[in-house]
Amino acid sequence: MLLRDEFSKNGDIRIGVYVCDCGTNIAGKVRVPEVVEYAGTLPHVVVAKEYKYMCSDPGQDMIRREIKEQKLNRLLVAACSPHVHEETFRNVAAQAGLNPFLFQMVNIRELVSWVTKDPDKATAKAKDMIRAAANRVLFHEELEPLKYHIKRNVVIVGGGIAGIHAALLLADSGEHVYLVERESSIGGHMAMFDKTFPTLDCAACILTPKMTMVKSHPNITIMSYSEVVEVNGFVGDFKVKVRKKPRYVDEENCVGCFECIDACVFKDARYPNEFDFGLGKRKPIYMPFPQAVPPVPVIDADTCIEFKTGKCPKECLKACGERAGIDFAQKEEIVELEVGSIIVATGFDSFDPKKMPQYGYGIYSNVYTSLEAERLFNASGPTAGELVLRDGSKPKSVGIIHCVGSRDENHNRWCSRVCCMYSMKLAHLVKERTNADVFNFYIDIRAAGKGYEEFYNRTMEEGVQYIRGKVAEVTDNAQTKDEEGKLVIRVEDTLLGMIRRIPVDMVILSVGLEPQHDALEVTKMFNISCSGGGWFMERHPKLAPVSTMSGGVFLAGACQAPKDIPDTVAQAGAAASEALALSHKGVIEVEPNTAFIDETLCSGCQVCVGLCPYSAISYDQEKKISILNQALCQGCGVCAGACPSGAAQQHLFNDSQLMAEIEGALAGVL
C-alpha cells in the first residue's frame, strides 16, 4: 500500500542517486558506501554512486554523463544543504538536458553528519532521507522557472560611506539611485571623524568630495531627512514608500547661502547640536556640520519660536526674501519609488556607556565617548580641533579605555573590530595636539589589517603607553596628592600582575558598535533576518556575504557586522555590483514554487482568497471558482495548506510530493 508502489504505473521512472563524501565532512560519519548500496535497492533507482566532492568539476561531469548514458529522468544528490548547492546541481541537470526541477537535493551534511554522534544512527538517517527524496521525486514534474523583468532603479537605504560609495558606482554605470538618509545630511559616522586609521587621511578631505559628487550626479536622487516606511513587491519590482520629513526649507529653492541662519532671531547658537553630541551648539535653523549635503539648512520645530508660539518676526524668511527657500507650511510627504533592487546600508549605533556606570560616563564631566572625542579633534567641530576639557584647559594626561561594551558577557559579546585601531588613532591625535601622557587600557590588541600593526608600533614609539587589563572603574576618589582633582583609572595590569591606579585629566571610552536601535523593524520591512546580536544576516557568511535571503535585497557596511571604512567600502562595492549584475541581466528567473488552482477540484469556497497575503487569489463570479494570479504569488503555499478540496496546490511542494516524502522518511526503523 505504499504510495510509490501505486505510482510505479506512472511510466518509466529512472532515478540516479549521487552521494557526496564531502571529503570527510560526510564520509567521516556516514558510511557512504553502505548508503549508496542501499540507495541502489530503492525502486526506480537505476544508478547510485559515491564521489569525494560531488560539486567539483569531475563530480558534475560524472552526473552529466550518466544522465545522458543512463537516460535518467530523476536526479537526487545527497550532499549539503539545498541553500548551499541546490542551484549548482539544478544547473548540472539542465546542462545534461534534464529539467532542473526533476532534481532533489538531500541534505545529509548539515542535517546528518555534522549533528550526529553515532555513525550507525547517522548512516540510518542518511538512508531514510534518501528514501524520502526518492519517493518524492516520483511526483516531480517538469517546470519552467518564472521570469520577471528587472527595473533598473536602485534604492539605497542609509547615506553613510557605504551608501555613498554604492550610489556612486551604480550611478556611474547608468543606474538611477535613490539614496535615502534619515538625517538631514548624508555622510553618516564617517563625517564625524577627524582622521582615519592607519593612514591618518583627513576624513573630511576624502569623504566630502564623494558627498559633493553624490549631490551633483544626474543619476542620484538624494532623499535626506527621509525614512523608508513600507516595502512591497519582490526582486526586480519593489515598491518602496519613503516618508520625507518636513525640513521647512525648500530644497529646490534654497541656494545654500545660509543668510537665514545668520538672520535667526537667536543671535547665538544655544541648542545642543546633535551631530556634536551636544558638545557644540546650534540655532533652531542650522546645518549639522559645514560640509553637509544637501547644503540646505533645516528648521527644528521643537526649538523654533515660530513653531512654538507663532509670534516670531521670522527674520529667516525675510533674509531669504524672493528666493523663497523658507517654507513654514511644509508638510510630511510620502513618496513611492519603484525599484529593481535595494541596498540596505543602515550602519550602526554606538554602545551607550551609561550602561556601565563604573566608567563614570554622565557622572564625571571629563569622561567622553570616542565619538565625542572625534568631534573635539575635528577641525569643523565644536572646539575647532582643540582637545580641551570642559573648563577649556588642555588635558595633561588622557586614559583611553578599549572594549567598552564589547567582548563583555554583560553587554555585547562580539569584538567591535574597529575600537583598537581608532583608539590608537585617538592616542596619536592626543599626542599630536596636546603632547599629554596617553594610556591605552586594552584586553587584547587586534591590529589585523594592512598597515595596522605598523601603526600600533608607531604610536608606541610616539610614547603612547599600553596597559593590558580590563579597567575596573573610573573614580574621583583621590587617595594621594597626585590623584587630587583627577579621574583615577583603577585597573589590574595583567602584565605586571598588580593593581594600578592611574590618575588622568580626561577619559575616553572606546565604545563598541551595536546594531541600530530600530534594526529589528528594518529587518521586518525588508524581509531579511538577523544573525546573533541583531546584525543583518547575509545569505551565506562566506560565499554570499552581501546578499540576503530576500532576492534583490543586498547589505553593505556595518549593518551586517562591525567593520572599518576599507571593509565597508569594499562591501558597498560588492553590493553595488550585485545590484548591477541583477539589473544588467534584465530578467530574473524565479523558483517556480508558485501555487496553482485545479479548476476541476475547486468548489469555490474562497477560503484561499482571504488567506493569501499578496492578494494573488480572486474569485471568479462567472466560473464560481478561485483564480490565482501567478505574477503576484510569492510561493508560500498558505492557500494549498488551507484548501479543503485539494484544488489549491503548490509547485514543488504539492500534497503528493510532501506525503510521499513523509512516507519515505518514516519508513525506516530507528
Partner: protein
Amino acid sequence: MNKEFEPKILGILCNWCSYMASDLAGTSRSQYPPNIRVVRVMCSGRIEPQLILWAFQQGADGVLVGGCNPGDCHYQEGNYKALRRVTLLKTMLPQFGIEPERLRLEWICASCAEEMRKTVEEFTNTLCRLGPLKVQIPQIIPVTGKAVVEYVQT
C-alpha cells in the same frame, strides 16, 4: 522511561527560519539526537493538518512544526496560520488517542541553532517518556491533489 525506545520525529520546517536554524546547527557542529527526519516547506503556513495526521499514520511518534518568530514570517503571517491550525489540531488529537504533546509547534529563528538543538533534544525526551505511538490511525482520506486522489481510489 523506555531506554530502548527510539522515537521517530518528523520535522516539517519552514525554509527561511527553522530550516536555516537546522543548517546553522550543522555548521556549528551542534550535536542532537538522530531521531528527527526533516521535510522542508517554504512556509509553516503551507502545512495542513492532514500532513501531520499522515505523518502519525506513517509511523511518526511525534511531529515538530517549525516556523519563524511571530512578526518575522517571510510571507508576512503564514506562521500565524500554522499556529491556528496546530492549536486546533491539538484539541482534536486526543480523539484519535494521540497525546497532544506529540505535536509541537516552535518558532525558531534563522540564527537560533541552539534553540533547534534544545528543541529536538527536549522533544526526543518527551517522546521517550510517552513511549511509542500505539494507536492505529484510521485511514484518513487525504484531500489532496490529483495523484493522491487516484491513489486512494485504487
